[in-house]
Symmetry: C2
Subunit: 373 residues, 2 copies
Amino acid sequence: MRLRTRVEAIDASAGAVRLSGGTTLPYDVLVIATGSRPMMPGIPGETLDGVFTLKNLSDAIRIKAYIRDRHCRRAVILGAGYIAMEMSESLRRIGLQTTVVYRGTLPAKKWDGEFSKLILEEITQHGVEFIPGMKPVAIEKGREGSLRLLTDGPVIETDLVLMGLGVTPEVELAKSAGCAIGGGTGAVQVDFTQETSREGIWSAGDCCEVFHRVSRRWTSIPLGDIANKQGRIAGINIGGRPARFEGVVGATSFKVFDLEVAACGLGEKEALESGFSPESVLVWGTSTARSMGGPRLGLKLVADRSTGRLLGAQAAGRGGAVRKIDVLSACLWNEADLDGLAYLDLAYAPPFGGAWDLIHIGAQELLRKIVSS
Amino acid sequence: MRLRTRVEAIDASAGAVRLSGGTTLPYDVLVIATGSRPMMPGIPGETLDGVFTLKNLSDAIRIKAYIRDRHCRRAVILGAGYIAMEMSESLRRIGLQTTVVYRGTLPAKKWDGEFSKLILEEITQHGVEFIPGMKPVAIEKGREGSLRLLTDGPVIETDLVLMGLGVTPEVELAKSAGCAIGGGTGAVQVDFTQETSREGIWSAGDCCEVFHRVSRRWTSIPLGDIANKQGRIAGINIGGRPARFEGVVGATSFKVFDLEVAACGLGEKEALESGFSPESVLVWGTSTARSMGGPRLGLKLVADRSTGRLLGAQAAGRGGAVRKIDVLSACLWNEADLDGLAYLDLAYAPPFGGAWDLIHIGAQELLRKIVSS
C-alpha cells in the first residue's frame, strides 16, 4: 500500500474501510487506534511557521530542526500541564529563554496547590519564566523570522510558540463506523475486552475510554502505558483467547528538573463527583530517614469518610514521590483502607525512609481526622 | 530509680519484677521489649579489646572512638548479611582496609545468587576484600595493639574485628515470667494485640514473634519498623482501645554503596516449606525507560503454581529496587495474583520506567511459565 494513504471512513455494515484513493479495503476485524490530537487555542496565527504542537516524534524532530536552523533563542509554551513542564525543562537544557504562558494561576492544576507551588519554584529556580492569568489572543509574524504572541496583557516577542494545551480523543473514524462515543469523555466506548459498540471493531489507546477502578466510571486518560495495555488486551481477544482489561486507578507521574511529581486515584473534587465523602491530609517528611537528611517529600492522601477507604494520593519531592504513589496505586487497585495503610509493611531501611513511612504517618493522621470529625 | 539497675527476673504470679539491687517493683501491666542480642561465633578471644558487636548506638560510638584513638587502618567483618554489607561501606568511607570473612559462598544469602553476585561486585569495586568459605577459629592479640584472626585457612592481621553474624531474640526475662517462647523462632509468642501467653504481659520488638501474612506462620524478623509498629499496637491495647497488628509480608531492604537491594514475601525454599508450589522468574531491565539509559535493575518474582498467587519478590540495582519491592509488598499484603500484577496501574513516566514496568514483564513471563509447565 502506498505511503500517505489515509482512511477516509469506515463502512461497518459493509465491513470495509474507504481509503483516500477511492478504493475500499474489506476487513473481518478492525482495530481503531487513532489516538488523540493536540488541542489548539483557536486563535489567529496558530498555524504560522514556528508554532508547533507537542504530540509526536515528528513534532520533536521538526522543533529541534527549527531551533537549530533559525538559531532560536526564545520560546513560549502555552499551557502549564505536565507536558508543558517537561518541555520547559528540555528547552532550558538547550539554553533557550523559556516562558510559560498560562490562563490559570499555578502549574499542574491536577495537583494540590502546595505541590503546584513546589513545581513553580522548581521551574523558576531553573530559569523558566512563568506568567499566570494570561490569555493568548493571536500570533503574528515579527521581525527577522520572530513571532509576536498577542495576549490580553502585554505582547511577547519570541522565536517559537509551543502548544501544551492537552489532547482530545481522535474519534472521527470511529464515528463514521457508528461506534458509540462517551458523552462525558468524547472517547470511543469499549467493553472490558476493548471491543467497541460495533461487533468486530476494537479500539485501544488515547482514542478510547478506560475504566477507572476507584470512581467505577469510564473515563479518558491519554497515557502511553494504558494504551499499551489496551492494545495487548485487544490483541489477545482478537486472537481468540478471552482477556479483560481491569482498568486503571489513575496513576500518573512526571519529572521536571529534579522534582518528581505523581498522583493516583481521585482528587477531592472528583471524589465528590463520584459520590464519595472525601477527607484529606497533606503530610511532609523526607525521602530518607530524617537522620540522613534527604530531600523534602510531601504526600497527600484522600479517603472516604464513611468507609475509611483510600480514594487517591498525590506526592511531590526531589526523589521518592513516584515510589509512594506506586505503592498507593497498588493499594487503590486492591481497594485498601486507611487501617491497612497505617501499618502496611514496606521495605524499610534508613536510606529509603523512616521506620514510620510517610504513608503510615499520612494514613494515621487522616484516620484521626476522620474519627474526630 | 538508679541508673544501671537491671531487671533480674519477673515474678508473674506476684505481679512484680525483681531488680538487681534486691528490691521488687510491682506492676499492673508489663511490657517486655528486651530486643535481641548479637550472635557470637563462640571462639577464643572474641571478647578481646578491638572486637565489637554491631547492635546499638553505643557499639557505634565505641567503634568510632577505637578507630580514632588506635589509628586503625584495617578491619575484618565476620558475616556477610546486610549489616555486614552496610558496615563494609561505612568502613571504606573512612578509608579503612576492609575484609569480609564469610563461611558461605556469596553475600546476602537471602537473595538469589544473581543478586548476591551484584552485591559482591559492588563491594569489591569499592575496595572491600571478600573472603568466602572461611571459618574463624580464634582471635589473638598481635603486635602493637593489632589482632590476629585465626581461621581454617590463613591468619589475618587486623586492627579491628566486627561481628556481623546476626541477632537472636533476648528472651531470658520473658522465660522467667513463664511467657511461652516459639519453638522454631526462639522469640516470645504474642497474639495479634501483642499480649504474651501471660495475661497482662505484653511484648514488642525483636524479642517477640511477628505474624507473616504470606506463610501464615509466626516468625522472627528483627527490624526496626516492625518493632515500632508492635510497640504502638501494644500501647493502644494497654491504653484500653482494641487494636490488632495484622502482621508483615517480610519486606526488607538495604543499600550498599550505590546498590539498592530489597525483598519481600517468601523465597522458593520458604514457599515450599509453607506448603506452596513455587515457580519463579528473574527479569532484567532498567530503572528508567530504556531510551533514557538508566542503570540495570533485576527483579525476581515467586508465585504459587496452583493459584497464581504472588508469594515473594526480590530486586537489586543502582536505583529503583526498593520501589519495586514496596509495590510488591503492598500487593502481597492484599494477596494479589499474577493476573492483576501483569496489568497493574503504576505511575508511568519515562524517567521512572518503561510503559511496561519490570513488574508487568516479570508477572507476564511467570504466567507463561506456569501455564506452559
